[in-house]
C-alpha cells in the first residue's frame, strides 16, 4: 500500500497533463476548423488506413479459416431459400400436365400445391422483414457486433480486435462524447443568444451560422466522413427537401452542408430543450403530439412555411421510419400534396465502417448513439438531385413514387413498393387481391369456355 503513495501524485499529474493535451488537440484540430468550415483531411487519412487494416484482417481470416478448416462465412445471399422463378400459370399447367391425361383446364386438387408452397416459402423467408434487419456484410470490420464467428480464428486477429476495442472505447468514445457535449451546448446557448436579437438580416445570418457550426461539430463527434455530390442542386428557400431515412443522424449529415428548417414532434427531455432553443433563432416547424395526427393542420402549417420565401427549406423524411439502407420504401404522400418544389436527396451509408441503421424496435436512442460513437466511423455519400415539381396530370401518390424512384436509382438502393409503415402495421387490403384475382381468372375464364363449347 505504501508503494502506491509516490505513484499517486505521478498518476494524477499524468492524468492532468493528458487531459489538457487532449482538449487542446480537440480545440485546435476539430472545433476551430468546424467553426470556419475548413478541414485538415485527417478523417480521410483515417478512413484509408482503416480500409487497409480491414483488408488485411479479412485476408488473415480467410487464410486462418482454410488452415483450421472452419466453416467460412459466405457473401450475403439474398434469402435462404431458392424461390422458383416460374409464374403462377406455368406452375399450374405443369402440375396438371404431369397428372391427368385430360387437358381440360378446370379446378383440380393439385392447384392447391402452388399456393401451399408459396405460403410456406414466405413463412420461411420474406422480402419485407429482411429489409428491416441490418444489411449483412461481406468482410469483417473488426467490430464483434458484426460477426461472432471470427474472434476465435487466430491469435493475431484477436489481439488486433482487442486493440480495436481499446482504441474505440477508451480513446475515441470519450473524445466523441466531449465533442458531442460541446456541440450541443454551443447549439443551445448560441441559438438562445441569437434569439434575443431583433429580427432582421443580422439575426438570420447569425442563426444560420450558429446552426451550421454546431452541426459540423456533431459531424466530427461521430467521425462522419461525408462526400457531397452535385452541390449545385442544393435546396433553396421555399422548397421542401426530401431524403431517404436510415437513422436520426441523417438530419445532422444534411444540415451540416446547408441551411434547413426542421419539422418534427416536440419531445421532452434534452431533445425538447434543443428544439425549443433552436426555434428561438429561426423558424422551425415543431408540432405538439396531439397536432401530429391532424393532417390538415400539418399540411396548413407546412404550406404557410413554404410560401414565405424568407424561411429556410423544410427537411422531411417521407418514409416515416428508419429503413436499413438497402432499399427505399413507399413515401407518404403528405409532403407531396403541398405543391412546393421538391429537392430530392439520396443518402447512402457505407456499411464497412459501422452500421448506421437504427432498428427502433431493437435499440433505444441512447443505446443507438453509443453504438454509433463506438464504431470506427460513419462513411456516407450524399447526392443532391435536381429539383422536381408535381406535373398537372399526376396526383400526389404518383409524384411521391417518381421522387422515390429517382432517389433509389441515384443511391443504388432497391426501389420497393412496400410501405415503410409495415414494420409496425398490417398490409392494406388492396394488395391482397392480386394473386387471388389472377388465379380465379384462370379457372373461371376456362370454365366459361368449357360450358360454352
Amino acid at each position: 500500500m505504501f508503494l502506491l503513495l509516490p505513484f499517486d501524485s505521478l498518476v494524477v499529474n499524468l492524468l492532468g497533463i493528458s487531459i489538457t493535451v487532449l482538449f487542446t488537440l480537440l480545440l485546435v484540430f476539430i472545433i476551430v476548423p468546424a467553426i470556419f468550415g475548413v478541414s485538415f483531411g485527417i478523417r480521410k487519412v483515417y478512413m484509408k488506413t482503416l480500409l487497409k487494416i480491414f483488408q488485411w484482417a479479412t485476408l488473415r481470416i480467410e487464410r486462418g479459416a482454410k488452415e483450421k478448416n472452419h466453416p467460412l462465412y459466405k457473401p450475403y445471399v439474398n434469402g435462404i431459400i431458392a424461390k422458383e422463378p416460374t409464374s403462377l400459370e406455368e406452375e399450374i399447367k405443369e402440375l396438371r400436365r404431369s397428372g391427368k391425361a385430360l387437358d381440360t383446364p378446370e379446378f383440380e386438387l393439385s392447384d392447391i400445391f402452388y399456393f401451399c408452397r408459396k405460403g410456406i416459402e414466405t413463412i420461411m423467408d420474406d422480402e419485407v422483414t429482411k429489409r428491416f434487419s441490418a444489411e449483412e456484410l461481406e468482410s469483417w470490420n473488426l467490430l464483434s457486433r458484426t460477426n461472432y464467428n471470427f474472434q476465435y480464428i487466430s491469435l493475431r486477429l484477436t489481439v488486433l480486435w482487442g486493440l480495436g476495442v481499446l482504441i474505440r472505447y477508451c480513446f475515441l468514445l470519450p473524445l466523441r462524447i466531449a465533442l458531442a457535449f460541446t456541440g450541443i451546448s454551443l447549439l443551445v446557448t448560441g441559438t438562445t443568444v441569437v434569439g434575443y436579437l431583433p429580427n432582421g438580416r443580422c439575426k438570420d445570418f447569425l442563426s444560420k451560422h450558429v446552426h451550421l457550426m454546431c452541426y459540423r461539430i456533431c459531424v466530427r463527434a461521430l467521425t462522419a466522413i461525408i462526400t457531397y455530390h452535385d452541390r449545385e442542386n442544393r435546396p433553396r428557400n421555399g422548397g421542401i427537401c426530401v431524403a431517404n431515412h436510415t437513422s436520426p443522424i441523417d438530419v445532422i449529415i444534411l444540415a451540416s452542408d446547408g441551411y434547413y428548417a426542421m419539422v418534427g414532434q416536440i419531445h421532452g427531455g434534452l431533445m425538447g430543450v434543443i428544439q425549443r432553443a433552436m426555434v428561438k433563432a429561426c423558424p422551425h416547424v415543431w408540432f405538439e403530439r396531439s397536432e401530429v395526427k391532424d393532417r390538415h393542420l400539418v399540411a396548413r402549417r407546412l404550406t404557410e412555411h413554404v410560401q414565405d420565401k424568407s424561411k429556410l427549406p423544410i427537411l422531411i423524411f417521407p418514409e416515416g421510419t428508419c429503413i436499413n439502407n438497402t432499399s427505399v420504401m413507399m413515401f407518404k404522400k403528405g409532403s407531396f400534396e403541398i405543391g412546393a418544389t421538391v429537392y430530392p436527396v439520396a443518402i447512402k451509408y457505407d456499411p464497412q465502417f459501422g452500421d448506421a441503421f437504427w432498428n427502433s424496435s431493437k435499440y433505444g436512442m441512447v443505446t443507438y448513439l453509443l453504438r454509433m460513437m463506438t464504431s470506427w466511423a460513419i462513411v456516407c455519400s450524399v447526392w443532391y438531385l435536381p429539383p422536381m415539381t408535381r406535373q398537372p396530370e399526376e396526383d400526389a401518390v404518383q409524384f411521391a413514387n417518381r421522387v422515390k424512384s429517382a432517389i433509389a436509382r441515384q443511391g443504388g438502393l432497391v426501389d420497393l413498393l412496400w410501405d415503410g409503415g409495415l414494420k409496425r402495421e398490417k398490409v392494406k387490403d388492396a394488395f391482397k387481391e392480386e394473386q387471388q384475382k389472377l388465379y380465379s381468372k384462370m379457372i373461371v375464364g376456362s370454365h366459361e369456355d368449357r360450358s360454352r363449347s
Partner: protein, 214 residues
C-alpha cells in the same frame, strides 16, 4: 448466435428426427425467433407479421395447418393453441426436398406424409373424409380474390371437380348411391402418377455459414 452454440445435442436429435441439416435448423431457428418475437412459442397472430402471406388465398388454411394436431404428430385431435420450435420444424419437414440416397420405402413414406398434410388441409372438420362442402370451401377460398365471381360459379366448379373425383375413386355410381366423401385412400388414388415429391418442397440455398450483423 449464442443459442445455436449452446444446444448442439438437442439440435442433432432434431436433425435426425426431422431430416434437416444443422445449418438449415439454425436458419429456421432464427426465422422462428423473428416470427415469435423472441418468445418460445408461436401463436396464430404471429403469422400476421408476414406481409407476403397476405397475398395467398389459402392463407387461413396454411396457418391452420401449423396448429393442426394431426400434422404435429400428436395423439390427440383438434387445434393446438401455440407451437414451439420443435413443432415448427415438424411442419416444415413436410416440405423437405427428397434426397438422393432415399430408398423406395422411404420415398413412399415421404410421399404419403406429404399427401396426408394436404389431405388435412382439405379435411377441416377432422373426420377423415373430404366432403362436398369441404371441397367447396377450398375452391371458394382459392377463387375468393375475384369479386366478379358469383358464389354459384364457384360452387358449380367445385361440384364438377367433386364428381370427377368420385368417378375416379368409386367408378360408376348407381343413381341412389351417395358419395360421402373422399377418404385418404381415395385421395392417394387420385394422386397416382403425379410426381408431387418434386413439387411440394422448398429448396434451401447452399450456404454454410452466413455472417450476421447484430
Amino acid at each position: 448466435m449464442g443459442s445455436a452454440h449452446s444446444v448442439p445435442a438437442e439440435m442433432r436429435e432434431l436433425a435426425d428426427r426431422t431430416g434437416f441439416t444443422s445449418e438449415q435448423i439454425e436458419h429456421l431457428h432464427r426465422r422462428f425467433k423473428q416470427l415469435s418475437q423472441d418468445q418460445l412459442t408461436i401463436r396464430k397472430e404471429n403469422f400476421d407479421s408476414i406481409p407476403d402471406l397476405e397475398f395467398n388465398p389459402i392463407r387461413g388454411k396454411i396457418v391452420h395447418a401449423f396448429f393442426d394436431k394431426r400434422n404435429l404428430r400428436q395423439e390427440s385431435d383438434g387445434l393446438a393453441e401455440e407451437i414451439n420450435f420443435e413443432d415448427f420444424l415438424t411442419i416444415m419437414s413436410y416440405f423437405r426436398p427428397i434426397e438422393m440416397n432415399m430408398d423406395e420405402e422411404q420415398l413412399d413414406r415421404f410421399r404419403k406424409e406429404k399427401l396426408k398434410f394436404l389431405f388435412h388441409m382439405y379435411d377441416s372438420d377432422h373426420d377423415g373424409k373430404i366432403t362436398l362442402q369441404e371441397y367447396r370451401n377450398v375452391v371458394e377460398e382459392l377463387l375468393s380474390g375475384n369479386p366478379h365471381l358469383e358464389k354459384e360459379s364457384a360452387r358449380s366448379i367445385a361440384d364438377g371437380a367433386m364428381m370427377e373425383a368420385a368417378s375416379i375413386c368409386v367408378g360408376q355410381m348407381g343413381p341412389d348411391q351417395v358419395y360421402e366423401g373422399i377418404t385418404f385412400e381415395d385421395f392417394l388414388k387420385m394422386w397416382q402418377g403425379i410426381d408431387i415429391e418434386t413439387k411440394m418442397h422448398v429448396r434451401f440455398l447452399n450456404v454454410d455459414t452466413i455472417a450476421h450483423c447484430y
